[in-house]
């Protein structure tokens, strides 16, 4: 690589990192507890557990479930009904003042067997809620998300330029060589290069999928205006619904249409995930992969008849696959710990990068620069 090219990549690496480092550190620090949010929820006692009943105990209808939820919040309207992939004993009903509300949402956990309300889990409440909101949007709504997405893009630039710069810095060194006998700066330079290159695949994937996840709201909106609008074009211009039909009937018909799948969640008419006249019944497959790729079954919210069940378009599939690849929640507890370790290593890479830049500025500038040159040569 010519010195000129190296200078360009160094410039890219320096500035993409400098602009984003503080925010990436915030993301890494808040992401760490989020990796364990299930365990922390159980530990804080915020995770709901249904009482033990025989597996073949009769099931409450979804209309009973909704009635129980409305009993807790009579002034609110239904937005979503969902189930965890590994627990079919609880329905989580999310309610809001309107189907498109984003604040003041309430959730009721309802026993799927007895139809009785179990608890009111806090949505984005408590410490973990704050941590989550910082991680996702810095308390700045959609613009916060898009800003963090841009920081993710800068992270990708920093990683790619870092890979390019790895060559001139490491040409004279064996892999993993850390020159402890040299100055602190050289030692941290070697560590920065080692940890950066060792975790590069993970960092690229988590950075890229994190960036994609920041576009979730926009992608879902596009899907609603694109595929959903096309499939349901004959509903266009109909007056808004005043009375909804049976949710149980809609759910039963959706299950009959996709008998090999199980339920992920149901979106009420007028929510971000549905049309104005349909229940969006999102079914998931039973394998690791298809569990994530929800299939939208759109059911007429008055008649309960299925209007369409189409595979989601590529951009929805990309979004849905970006979630597990960012969260690291698809390989059990060992994967959570690996995710946490890789997150901590990334913090060291970020911190050492910042240190390498700062240590260049101080009074030790000359020898440090000379050493860096020696390292490049």
């Amino acid at each position: 690589m010519s010195p000129g090219t190296t200078r360009v990549w160094s410039w890219l690496h320096k500035w993409s990192s400098l602009v984003s480092t503080v925010f990436l550190l915030v993301l890494c620090l808040t992401g760490l507890p989020l990796v364990f949010h299930h365990q922390i929820g159980a530990w804080l006692g915020t995770e709901v557990v249904a009482p033990a009943l025989p597996a073949d105990a009769p099931r409450a209808t979804l209309d009973q479930v909704m009635a129980a939820a409305r009993g807790r919040f009579p002034s609110k309207t239904g937005m979503y009904v969902s189930q965890e992939p590994d627990d079919d004993t609880i329905w989580y009903v999310t309610m809001g003042d309107t189907p498109r509300s984003t604040t003041d949402l309430k959730q009721v956990a309802v026993d799927a067997r007895t139809g009785g309300a179990l608890a009111e889990p806090k949505i984005d409440g408590g410490v973990m809620g704050v941590v989550h909101t910082i991680h996702v949007e810095l308390f700045a709504g959609l613009w916060g998300k898009l800003f963090l997405g841009f920081m993710g893009l800068l992270m990708l630039v920093a990683i790619v330029s870092g890979i390019v710069l790895y060559a001139p810095f490491m040409r004279k060194l064996r892999f993993g060589e850390v020159r402890h006998e040299r100055s602190t700066r050289v030692r941290w330079l070697d560590l920065h290069n080692l940890l950066g290159i060792a975790t590069v695949t993970w960092a690229l994937v988590v950075g890229a999928t994190g960036m994609i996840n920041t576009w979730a709201d926009l992608v879902i909106e596009h899907w609603r205006n694109d595929q959903v609008a096309q499939l349901l074009s004959h509903y266009r211009g109909l007056p808004p619904l005043t009375q909804l039909g049976s949710l149980e009937k809609a759910f039963a018909n959706a299950r009959a249409r996709e008998p090999q799948m199980k339920i992920a969640f149901i979106a009420f008419p007028g929510t971000a995930w549905g049309s104005a006249h349909h229940y969006g019944v999102f079914m998931r497959g039973r394998t690791r992969l298809t569990e994530r790729l929800v299939q939208p079954v759109l059911v007429d919210a008055v008649t309960g008849e299925v209007s369409s069940s189409e595979d989601p378009p590529w951009y929805m599939t990309t979004l849905l696959l970006s979630q597990p690849l960012h969260f690291g929640d698809y390989g059990g507890v060992p994967m959570q710990w690996l995710w946490a370790m890789l997150d901590v290593i990334t913090i060291v890479v970020l911190g050492s990068g910042l240190y390498l830049w700062l240590s260049k500025k101080g009074p030790v500038r000359k020898p440090a620069a000379a050493e860096a040159k020696a390292a490049v040569a």
Binding site: T201, L321, Y330, L342
Partner: protein, 61 residues
């Protein structure tokens, strides 16, 4: 076989990168054996970081 400059520079990084990638994909595909692929694949960058990063630290102190 004598290592070329390319492989002596990029051999280990590529090896770790490919294993990490396999680990990231493995867990999405299935349970059981695939889980092990994930744990081993993602374990490699962690172990490499710890081993090379902590090795020889005493020499300085």
């Amino acid at each position: 076989m004598k290592a070329s400059p390319f492989w002596s520079l990029w051999g280990w990084p590529l090896f770790i990168a490919v294993l990490s990638g396999a680990g990231l994909v493995g867990g999405l595909v299935g349970d059981g054996r695939w889980d092990w692929m994930t744990w081993v694949g993602l374990g490699v960058p962690c172990v490499a970081s710890a081993w090379f990063g902590l090795r020889g630290r005493r020499a300085r102190a």
